[in-house]
Symmetry: D3
Subunit: 128 residues, 6 copies
């Protein structure tokens, strides 16, 4: 199971790699994309979604990257924690923000289980 | 397994309930706290942490509530999704922000598994 | 998707139900077994494992039930939290023990994510 | 915490190892079984279940291995992804099938969270 | 938080609903899509991915639906278990196949944790 | 992202490290604390909770460590499995107890999914 490097990639894959590099202003794509490139359809679809979702909208890019990181930490995905930790720092997450993010993630993971274990019924006020 | 209502609570529990109500400006505490009150030590410790963690710092309260919600959605905790969804809306999360939050959470849960399944090694550039 | 009641069950399924009832000293099996009975092979295999694993050994039954409950709370399985909470109480888990169990489960779910997020390397002293 | 090699194994463990090797036509068992062998009862029970469950039935072996892999990817178990990825390939999973498997696993992990987050009620048509 | 019914939907949302109905040959879309419709961009993007991923390819539709179900069961998403269970049955998953699917899902969830807990290193033979 | 060693730590961090060392009777703190030390507030709060929760109460320390380990194994946190496995052994978990713990954890992770997949409704007898 190997990564697909640019020089070995099909035109279809190269065109996705080129768009990633241009969009992000980086000289090469990171490993995630080189591995996905083994399935060009999956690569194209995933990049199209990531590009659309992670661009600024009602939420700014830093908030989006921090939410991405919070999910990755909760799921325990080592690659994603490394890559989105780096991405979040690149768009301005300070060490202090990271510490607070981790505190919220830890607390939420704790209270999620307390709510499960005590079998707490949803308050009528929270119901749709 | 019942909830502890204010009128049935010990002075120790009432004092926590009073602090929650005063801090949040609400007439009653929500079910989560009424169930935790069955263990007064757990109640006190959990509220002290939540109060400290969820107050504004390097991250604003709305960002913190959205991170809390992202974790709860990832873990699939129905109570927490209901309560922190309501809390996030109360501090200004619009429907548009919620949609973008959900898009990021969904994408992160997807790409976390793609990174797992393709066994992507961490790029040297992301290593500490 | 219906449960299989005793009167509608095949001899193969009845024999498992009979063993569950005899082993546990209960007049009827709980819903979990009635649903599994839709696949008699899965029913037989699962009961054989549960019977063997949950009998006293190096760990007593109450400790085993509390570990079962801790896993179920972590995974957020509502049925399992209800059934193994009841089972643990039946073999002596007090309300105080339950509170401490929940405190440990909550803390572990929190620190698991802190270790993930801070990417803590395993200490040489902990290595096999 | 060490693996138990064949030459160091008790007769009870050797007999399980022999059955694994004969069933799979391999010269040695993989690490999973060598580590489980530290608890001979757990080893015996686990192998008996795996042998029964993973043999062809209403579902063919390749489909079963792909389901195993889908679960392992979702849970993020590195050992299981490596071993069941290899096993699935051995019984005919092509690179193209793997790509589609990953696409489904990624999509399911995404839509599971969208359903959680939007608190979608089950359609009456889906109810048992 | 309400569902968007066809009669209340914008032209953009109606066009997605129409495509879902035509593709699946159903008179109405299920609740999942009615809730996602609150964010028309998320609706469009999610449907486009589902449509592409769940169409027959190297894997047939029934296998894909069973993989979807295996992930949903592992994550404990009640809505998804109900909807993809129904979908899998519609494309030919028999009760016997479902029983075997559940057996594999259960076993994988068990052995994933055994591999974690015994800290089993990946066999060189499985390494890429 | 580096660990904070004692000699580089602020007085605030040193005081937490000193308390950990004194409470546990160890010459140095393990990596978890050295990484958390990057956020002194998170360090202080987390240690205060761990110290309180993991001291003997209605549950003895060994039972608490085994519950901690069961959660860590379920979540698949490599650091936590290594550190709490070591901690549990230090307070008397034998290899036989560990084997039974793993059997229960494996079984619970399996039956949690069977209950999910068969959509088993909670028995009235288990309801609060």
């Amino acid at each position: 199971m190997a990564a697909i490097e640019y020089q070995d990639a099909s035109p279809q894959v190269r065109s996705v790699f080129d768009d990633i590099k241009a969009t992000r202003g980086v000289p090469d794509v990171n490993n995630f994309w080189k591995y996905l490139a083994r399935d060009p359809v999956l690569l194209r679809r995933t990049w199209a979604s990531v590009k659309e979702i992670m661009s600024p909208g009602a939420l700014d890019v830093r908030t989006k990257e921090m939410i991405y990181l919070a999910v990755s930490v909760t799921n325990g995905c080592p690659y994603c924690i490394a890559s989105h930790g780096a991405a979040a720092r690149k768009v301005g997450m300070s060490e202090e923000m990271f510490g607070e993010l981790m505190a919220v993630v830890g607390m939420a993971n704790k209270t999620n289980r307390l709510a499960n274990g005590y079998r707490v019924p949803v308050d009528p006020a929270f119901e749709r």
